[in-house]
């Protein structure tokens, strides 16, 4: 499937659908495939960081560098699996698991105080000092009943975010 000029067969589409737990319809997958090929200018079968950053709306996102580490070297199947967290057919729990993964870049299944600090650093940049960030995070940690040395698990994330009205949906344009 690395060949960008090839068309998707029904088998390919079904395979991709299987891989992303049917988060996308067949039409949406075809549409995503066109998009994938459009972004993969060099035709290498994956989208390089540079190619992702050529989309200005993506490049200006404060989390773009972090997301690039997750997106690096994904082939089309993995690319769709990545995006499946944003499908309307994906459960809230899967969406929260995705957010967890954004924090847990080392894939150890735990998110420490420092992991959250580093995301907060991406989100606030130079507009908050390190002390202010520390203070804010310590405050909310204590309020939620965690101490600074506790590492949060997926279950904790679900507990914290599960009750909120999480809106994380992206519509795939189908023509």
């Amino acid at each position: 499937m690395g060949n960008t000029s090839s068309m998707l067969t029904q088998y390919d589409i079904e395979e991709v659908q299987e891989h992303c737990n049917h988060a996308f319809s067949q039409q949406e997958i075809v549409s995503l495939y066109h998009r994938f090929c459009q972004l993969d200018r060099s035709g290498s079968g994956f989208i390089s960081s540079d190619e992702f950053l050529s989309v200005p709306e993506f490049a200006v996102n404060p989390l773009s560098q972090r997301l690039l580490r997750m997106l690096d070297g994904l082939n089309f199947k993995e690319f769709v699996a990545f995006l499946s967290a944003f499908s309307s057919r994906t459960t809230l729990q899967q969406k929260i698991e995705f957010i967890f993964k954004v924090y847990d870049l080392e894939f150890n299944g735990k998110v420490s105080f420092n992991d959250i600090m580093s995301v907060l650093r991406d989100l606030t940049g130079s507009f908050m000092t390190e002390q202010q960030r520390q203070k804010a995070l310590t405050h909310v940690f204590e309020e939620a009943g965690f101490s600074q040395d506790t590492s949060l698990s997926v279950a904790d994330f679900i507990k914290v975010l599960g009750s909120s009205d999480l809106k994380m949906e992206v519509e795939v344009p189908v023509d």
Partner: protein, 366 residues
């Protein structure tokens, strides 16, 4: 072909065009969930990966195939044969004859009538208009011009949306405009430096900061002169696919003179006139146009606009863009076309960070 002045080239100043897009609801009481919930930012990022307005501006839209039918297919084949075996050679000979006449007249005029001869300017202008008509004829151009023709007058500048270098040719065949343009390599560059100079065209290199200063100065001098050909600027600075308009560079709107908008809309029934300069050389682009049945387009000369009291050049540019977009049926996007060549400025990211940081800090104060 591009316009530009001064500092606005170095840093695309999009932030001035964007409204506050992502203002968070004021947080009443900071909770862990507010910090952990990355969903708005992640959705934005994923949305941009799936589809973004910037890339859409530069996508060539391939035409729908219509020939896959037993009855239509032979017709289509016949069409191909006519287009490539009859129409194309005819186009080439028209071009060749046109150039022969052009050079036969241009060279003697250019070298014999020296100095600031009024006749020389007059003849050269007529010849440039003639060769542009030849070009339009070579693609069987069907161009409808609406509105009053531009006249020679000082203190006015024409601005148009930009789809391909052929915009210039189409406009030039009616009026010999002086154009601000990007310097091109190859034979196009030769025409620029040797022929278009005679109508007062100014060219520069998009990436050279020094060139820009010179252009800005030349620009101001040019609009003051009464005898100069009217100035034409493509303020988008890059070719867009004629479905969208990208941000207008403010250079043309700071000259303190009348801005006359021109809207150009191509009909894609026979060929897509968008020149994707990163994928295609201009020669190939012309070949595509010459082997198509026709290039159909509408040109509207709109009413001159002036800077309103209290209006900034950027607001003025946006107002004119709105007029052109409405007339030609184009969608506006808040992006700088130069992002094709540069990464967006970190300022945009910083603004998003600032908004979030401020909302967090506010709750901390309480």
């Amino acid at each position: 072909m591009v316009v530009s002045t001064e500092a606005d080239l170095d840093r695309p100043n999009i932030e001035e065009y964007l409204s506050a897009d992502s203002i968070h609801e004021p947080l009443m009481n900071l909770q862990l969930r507010d910090l952990l919930d990355l969903s708005p930012r992640l959705s934005e990022a994923a949305g941009a990966i799936v589809d973004d307005s910037f890339t859409r501006c530069f996508k060539s839209n391939s035409s729908e195939p219509w020939n896959w039918n037993v009855y239509l297919f032979p017709l289509w084949c016949l069409g191909v044969a006519i287009r490539y075996c009859i129409l194309f050679p005819v186009s080439v000979s028209i071009l060749a004859i046109g150039w022969l006449i052009f050079f036969a007249a241009f060279l003697p005029v250019h070298f014999l009538l020296t100095g600031t001869n009024k006749w020389r300017h007059y003849i050269e202008r007529a010849l440039v208009e003639m060769i542009c008509s030849v070009f339009v004829a070579s693609w069987t151009g069907v161009v409808k011009y609406h509105g009053p023709r531009p006249s020679m007058r000082s203190h006015q500048v024409f601005v148009a949306n930009h789809t391909s270098m052929i915009d210039f040719i189409i406009l030039e065949q009616m009026t010999a405009f002086a154009v601000i343009m990007q310097k091109h390599p190859g034979w196009v560059g030769f025409i620029q430096t040797h022929i278009l100079e005679s109508v007062g065209c100014i060219w520069f290199n998009r990436t050279e900061a020094k060139d820009r200063e010179i252009v800005a100065r030349k620009l101001r001098q040019h609009v003051q002169g009464a005898d100069n050909n009217p100035l034409l600027i493509f303020p988008e600075g890059t070719c867009v696919n004629n479905h969208y308009t990208v941000m207008f560079k403010k250079g043309a709107f700071e000259l303190g003179c009348a801005v006359c908008p021109i809207a150009i809309k191509y009909n894609k029934i026979f060929v897509d006139a968008f020149w994707n300069s990163k994928k295609q050389s201009f020669t190939k682009h012309l070949f595509r146009l010459m082997t198509s049945w026709a290039v159909v387009c509408d040109v509207w000369y709109l009413e001159p606009q002036y800077l309103r009291p209290g209006e900034t050049p950027i607001e003025f540019a946006e107002r004119v863009r709105e007029m052109i977009s409405a007339r030609a049926g184009l969608k506006k996007v808040p992006w700088d076309g130069y992002l094709k060549y540069y990464r967006p400025s970190p300022k945009l990211t910083e603004r998003k960070q600032q908004i979030f940081a401020e909302s967090v800090l506010k709750t901390l104060e309480k």
